[in-house]
Symmetry: C2
Subunit: 244 residues, 2 copies
């Protein structure tokens, strides 16, 4: 195996939507003193690790996510790189570093990736780390500058949702209109009129009605839809839209 690059890391902000609320995947960071058995650190961080010398960054992001959480084959989008000289400054972070990155004391630059997946469809494989979903509005204490990174990822996700019709990569294959509406409302923090939303969505030619209905619901089953990337690429045009 190749060597890791000690001053470059990747952090993945994995958003999970369960059609109720927006969640984010975090990893427990725990450090216990060998002698005194005292818990020195016990908080949470994003899914992250260093990259290897012979590895592309996108590949590294996918590997790190797979290794830590078991999640595979999802679209990851790079959104920002965090490299302030003092980004890791508090005592816990320094302590953690001393234990895990021993022969290295300089600043670590981290490249942020995010994704949005249906977290009801994903099984987290148990690695040696404790990995859990947290509701975005009920987060535990985060280590390093990961709160800042998470906030920036959420901004990027919102921008993407607002400006790129839909994150194709960011939704399950089949969905109902109101699932889609809930996703938009939850992430953008807004409410839309059901009828207008439906009208708007149905205008989009790349949203294809399927001959299939929802199952397992205790009310009228809704029709399922799918995205067609092909149609999307064809109908994509330049827009002039410097509204506000």
């Amino acid at each position: 195996m190749s060597k890791i690059i000690p001053n470059i890391s990747i952090d993945c902000v994995i958003f999970g939507f369960d059609f109720k609320q927006l969640n984010v995947l975090l990893v427990e960071r725990k450090l216990i003193d060998k002698d005194s058995k005292q818990v020195l650190i016990d908080d949470w961080t994003l899914v992250g690790y260093h990259i290897y010398e012979d590895e592309d960054m996108d590949t590294a992001a996918a590997r790190i996510l797979r290794k830590i959480s078991g999640i595979e084959d999802i679209y990851l989008e790079q959104f920002y790189t965090f490299g302030d000289e003092n980004r890791i400054k508090n005592e816990k972070d320094k302590l953690w570093h001393k234990h895990h990155n021993k022969h290295f004391k300089s600043r670590v630059v981290t490249v942020g990736y995010y994704s949005l997946i249906d977290n009801t469809k994903v099984k987290l494989s148990l690695s040696d780390r404790n990995v859990k979903w947290f509701a975005i509005d009920d987060l535990p204490e985060l280590g390093f500058d990961h709160k800042k990174i998470l906030d920036k990822a959420l901004d990027s996700l919102r921008d993407k949702l607002r400006n790129q019709p839909i994150g194709f990569e960011l939704l399950p294959e089949k969905f109902t209109i109101s699932q889609m509406q809930r996703l938009y409302e939850e992430i953008l923090g807004t409410r839309f009129d059901r009828r207008n939303f439906r009208k708007k969505v149905l205008q989009m030619k790349y949203i294809i009605p399927l001959d299939e209905k929802q199952t397992g619901v205790k009310h009228k089953a809704a029709q399922l839809f799918a995205f067609s990337r092909e149609v999307y690429e064809k109908t994509k045009t330049e827009r002039f839209d410097f509204t506000i």
Copy 2:
């Protein structure tokens, strides 16, 4: 002075607009063999260099730009980080590296920043490097993967222009409506109706008419306008806009 970090660099894509066409700032990359006097490399690159160990990335970007071009105090926006394992693969690039980054053979990750300025207002200070503006549609051969970086920067600039009313940081302090229109047309590659454009712009409350007119033109002098970031921040609202 502090040490440089050999595997992290910054590249600045400085777009310059002269109210006629879009330009980009490039630096000549020349390597001459000491003995044979043969020109081994003679092409152009973006404005870039490594960061120092005790320096924030934003600070480094500003410093690198200042050192190489003399340009100061402009807004630089980070847009993407390029770190493919083989991003520098051709012979010229390897040769250059051998000469300038001697004791280092691993991949260099580069963080991209861009800006847009009025290049008629900027004096390039002569450093030891040859620095020049090039029209965006008449570029010379670019070294490394800098063509790819430039293209991505242009995409980001277009996105910003389309989605964030105007890049406040990206325009001169005082401007006429038709200068603004030319900027939009040139960068987005579209044409707008003069009257409709003006109408749209004048609706924006954060675009403030000044008691001042253009000077030095051989036709009717146009009124000057300025942005008010203050008003912008106040009137900014959430939009739902997944148009296509």
